[in-house]
């Protein structure tokens, strides 16, 4: 049983027929070929699949695409501003070496952006707590914390 689905992804209206069991992350990656959103676990633990759904950071591996019918989704590919201007968080990650292998990075950036929206001048502890839904195995997080601090200052 396929169902029709329409949503706006990175500002572009999309319409497809999908199986209800199709996970949002697979819709983005396999159907729309937006492969910047990654899958790192099976249990909604790692946060690599984080996207913005109607303005909120969510784990796209833990919802069905059909649940996002009618929604607005923003993925890392749509995160830079007009003319490719990097988002301050993207800039911070680059400036402060907030990534090594880069696999967790898209999810980390989206979670960090939400954090700064909700807590514009976060303390180090708030940043660390705010990123509890995102795992990174490379950086030890310290440069990520600095990246978020950089972005908060810039925002």
């Amino acid at each position: 049983m396929k169902m029709s689905l329409s949503m706006t992804v990175n500002g572009v209206a999309r319409e497809h027929e999908v199986e209800p069991r199709l996970l949002l992350v697979h819709y983005l990656r396999e159907v729309l070929n937006l492969t910047g959103t990654h899958v790192g676990c099976d249990t909604s633990t790692c946060g690599a699949c984080t996207v913005r759904l109607d303005g909120q950071a969510v784990k796209s591996c833990t919802m069905f695409a059909i649940q996002a019918d009618g929604s607005e989704v923003k993925t890392i590919e749509g995160f830079a501003g007009e003319g490719g201007q990097l988002h301050p968080v993207q800039e911070g990650f680059w400036e402060c070496h907030g990534l090594q292998c880069g696999y967790c990075t898209p999810g980390m950036i989206i979670a960090a952006a939400q954090l700064i929206e909700r807590t514009p001048q976060p303390t180090e502890a708030q940043i660390r707590h705010g990123l509890e839904g995102n795992l990174c195995r490379c950086t030890g997080y310290q440069h990520i914390v600095e990246a978020v601090q950089y972005a908060a200052k810039k925002s």
Partner: protein, 800 residues
């Protein structure tokens, strides 16, 4: 030439694509008509497979083929192990289980379907009839005589026994004033690269070419091994390593799935893809550590070390992966730590268990050694009531004693252990920390200070000591337009070689870093290479780049001199290219050098420009162009401007450092909180300090994971009970302290860059530091040693 880039915290050139989500990991590569593979894996640790019924699955919607061990295992060679040890028993490790399954997650059948969903659905339709066998789980019990045996033909579960070391250990321990014994466990860990493994294979029947995209640390070694496994000419097999989402050793391997996917693609003449799930990753990607050892350390009353013996049972798992049996031998090599120990002996018993193989995980055998040695030093200090710093100092070799020969047979290249220690003591204000600790204890608080002074063996390594070559390769090419292309065999997975190697090249060639591109991870483009592991990429691979550049410059120099119509000794290379040294020229020739008559001006549109020179100066770009146009080259000069160099290091390097941790324990709950974490690391010369810090921080966090949180647990039935990231805890941001980092810089003479390597330093130095801190905190409760991970409950029980 002034170094504009080396030594600077240059922002990484690989980052823009990664922060925009535009990089391509294996699963991001889409080929038309790709089929998807899912595996049926054993739910038992040890069982006989009586029947695999695929009849229902084969008829399921979307299913194209199902392969079992009966179909594939005879046609694909065994999964390779590159370690050759005397009398090593080598089990026949096939890509799919045939008659028996040996661990939970052991692949039994591969389902191929038109999409990943259909493949997964069909997995549930395959019926496996198992006859359960008694699992062998505990490594020490497994080593004991009497069954059950995992590989019946061997008659026991002992893969090998090995004794190594120098000096008369029995006499050393007999002559020691004190001999301290301790059982020490290095628990099994899961590497957990954030990107699980993945393979995409495409066979082109016309071209008879097989391309395998794999998330691997070793594209070339993988190509060679896969060619052997699937009987494919190596020059028709191409391995591409796209973006790799972390490895930590887990992708320094050749896996059954890589061969099987290639083989399936050849049979079906379609691209096939398999992306590992995290559960599969926990079950079937290698684990690290897994050692149960018995330490004996002998010392004199004044703290001088007399000898160290370590009898260790290494939990190898049921089968070998690429380096499985070799890992404990690295433990043996590093048992001297950064101390003068006259006699050392390691006795390794490699043991088969019904678990997935252990293999190289960040540090690979050396963290185990450092942990043992650094725990040993604290045990000595406790026994003698000495300060842990004094005991260490007492046994350091002095800087002038280098190269320092250890009783494990190594020659440490260079070191200033006191220097790093002193800096860490100053940074942490160690004396004051001890005062504060005394005060805190008087108030009933439980505070501990941990110190570890470590040395590690890096830059793996001389080929003599390596299973498959210890050199590394680089090609440096200056394109006709002057752009610099570097091809490195040290295929990275997050380390940032695209930046750090470009830094080296930009400085050496006097070009902008933006004009340098580093290519890696494609065996059809890049000359044969070894890979990135063992903290070797910069020290060995970077050196290959450096030397290739020197050779390339020699050639360019000759061409430039020719273009300038000057003797090479009168031409100097500087930031803007090659210039005629007039004074020198005058001295040499006694006359004014005539202006060369060379074509000047715009080339016609669409054609290549012509090299330009004003007769006094020629840019590198123009030299490159001239080299490629080859219209005016010195006689017998080979056209082109490209050099490939294979660098063979003459020794390992030995980075070192001191870590100091301060912890406070919640008396009521046993919770550990960090107050300080200071790390002074010496990795020789530094190319990019920001990247070095990143490596150290990441390494410390993995060490902290081992010390406090991580442990792969198999229950008594061999079931993997830490099967997801909901059960296996890797550190999160909020669990960690802010690290205070500093460096000392003791160059090595093993390579001309003076770099030693840093990828594993944090992991090696930090684990014992943290455990030492906690044990120090608990010393008033009579605690001498604790096994990791240091769970709050364990600590709470000790306190109460």
């Amino acid at each position: 030439m002034a170094k504009k880039f080396v030594g600077q915290s240059i922002k990484r050139t690989e980052d823009p694509r990664l922060i925009k989500g535009l990089g391509h990991y294996v699963d991001d590569i889409k080929l038309p008509e790709t089929l998807h593979v899912a595996f049926v894996r054993s739910m038992y640790a040890h069982a006989r497979v009586k029947e695999v019924d695929v009849s229902e699955a084969i008829n399921a919607p979307g299913v194209v083929a199902v392969y079992t061990g009966a179909d594939a295992s005879a046609l694909i060679g065994p999964v390779p192990c590159a370690s050759a040890l005397p009398d090593l028993k080598v089990p026949d490790h096939r890509v799919l289980a045939t008659d028996k399954v040996y661990f939970v997650g052991h692949p039994i059948a591969a389902v191929v379907a038109t999409n990943a969903y259909a493949a997964r659905d069909a997995v549930d339709l395959i019926m496996v009839d198992y006859e359960e066998l008694t699992p062998v789980v505990d490594v020490e019990e497994a080593a004991a005589e009497g069954g059950p045996f995992i590989h019946e033909k061997f008659g026991d579960n002992i893969a090998y026994k090995l004794t190594a070391g120098e000096g008369d250990i029995d006499a050393a321990l007999a002559g020691a004033d004190h001999v301290i014994k301790q059982r020490i466990v290095n628990q099994r860990l899961a590497p957990i690269a954030m990107e699980p493994r993945g393979v995409l294979a495409r066979y082109l029947p016309g071209e008879e070419e097989l391309t395998i995209w794999s998330s691997t640390q070793i594209p070339h070694l993988l190509r060679t091994q896969l060619a052997l496994m699937i009987g494919m000419p190596e020059n028709k097999l191409r391995v591409i390593t796209p973006e790799v989402g972390g490895g930590f050793g887990s992708k320094l391997n050749v896996y059954a799935e890589e061969a099987l996917l290639g083989w399936i693609s050849m049979r079906l003449a379609k691209p096939v893809k398999w992306i590992e799930t995290r559960r599969e990753n926990m079950q079937a990607t290698i684990h690290g550590r897994g050692q149960v050892g018995y330490l004996e350390i002998g010392c004199m009353n004044d703290g001088t070390l007399a000898g160290l013996r370590y009898n260790v049972f290494a939990d190898l798992g049921a089968y070998y992966q690429l380096l499985t049996p070799a890992i404990p031998t690295l433990t043996g090599l590093m048992l001297s730590g950064c101390y003068k120990i006259p006699a050392i002996q390691i006795n390794v018993t490699g043991v088969f268990t019904n678990k997935v193989a252990t293999d190289a995980y960040r540090g690979a055998g050396r963290p185990e050694a450092t942990y043992v040695v650094e725990r040993a030093l604290d045990l000595v200090a406790q026994e003698l009531s000495m300060d842990v710093v004094e005991v260490r100092r007492k046994n350091f070799p002095a800087p002038e004693e280098f190269p320092f020969h250890t009783a494990t047979g190594l020659f440490y290249d260079s070191g200033n252990y006191e220097g790093a220690l002193k800096k860490a003591l100053e940074m942490s204000d160690y004396a004051k920390l001890r005062e504060e600790q005394a005060k805190a204890r008087a108030e009933g608080r439980i505070v501990g200070i941990g110190v570890s002074t470590y040395v590690e063996i890096c830059a793996l390594g001389p080929s003599q000591a390596m299973p498959a070559g210890g050199w590394e390769s680089a090609t440096v090419r200056i394109e006709p337009t002057g752009k610099v292309t570097i091809m490195t065999g040290a295929s990275p997975h997050g380390q940032g070689q695209e930046t750090s190697f470009a830094q080296i090249a930009a400085d050496e060639l006097g070009v902008d870093i933006k004009d340098v591109t580093v290519i890696h991870g494609d065996t059809s483009i890049v000359q044969y290479g070894i890979g990135t592991f063992g903290s070797r990429a910069t020290a060995v691979g970077g050196t290959a780049v450096f030397i290739a550049i020197q050779k390339l410059k020699e050639k360019a120099h000759k061409i430039a001199s020719h273009l300038l119509q000057a003797d090479a000794t009168n031409v100097a290379f500087g930031e803007s290219g090659f210039s005629l040294q007039k004074a020198k020229a005058a001295v040499a020739s006694g006359v004014e050098v005539p202006e060369p008559d060379l074509p000047v001006g715009q080339a016609p549109a669409g054609a290549l420009p012509e090299p330009e020179t004003d007769g006094k100066h020629v840019t590198l770009q123009d030299v490159a162009l001239a080299a490629h146009l080859a219209k005016d080259l010195p006689p017998d000069m080979e056209p082109g401007l490209s050099v490939t160099y294979f660098f063979e290091p003459k020794n390992f390097t030995f980075p070192f450092g001191t870590h100091i941790a301060v912890v406070e324990i919640d008396r009521e709950t046993g919770d550990i909180k960090f107050q300080r974490y200071v790390a002074v690391d010496d990795c020789g010369k530094v190319i990019n300090p920001m990247l070095v810090d990143g490596q150290i921080q990441g390494g410390i966090v993995q060490a902290l994971g081992q010390a406090l949180y991580e442990e792969v647990v198999y229950d008594e039935q061999g079931q993997l009970v830490t099967g997801t990231l909901m059960d296996y805890a890797i550190p999160k941001a909020a669990m960690l302290p802010h690290f205070e980092l500093a460096r000392t810089e003791t160059p090595t003479d093993v390579n001309p860059l003076g770099v030693k390597g840093v990828g594993e330093a944090g992991t090696i130095g930090a684990t014992p530091c943290i455990v030492n801190a906690v044990v120090d905190a608990l010393a008033p409760f009579g605690v001498r040693h604790l096994d990791m991970p240091l769970k709050p409950e364990t600590i709470w029980k000790l306190i109460h």
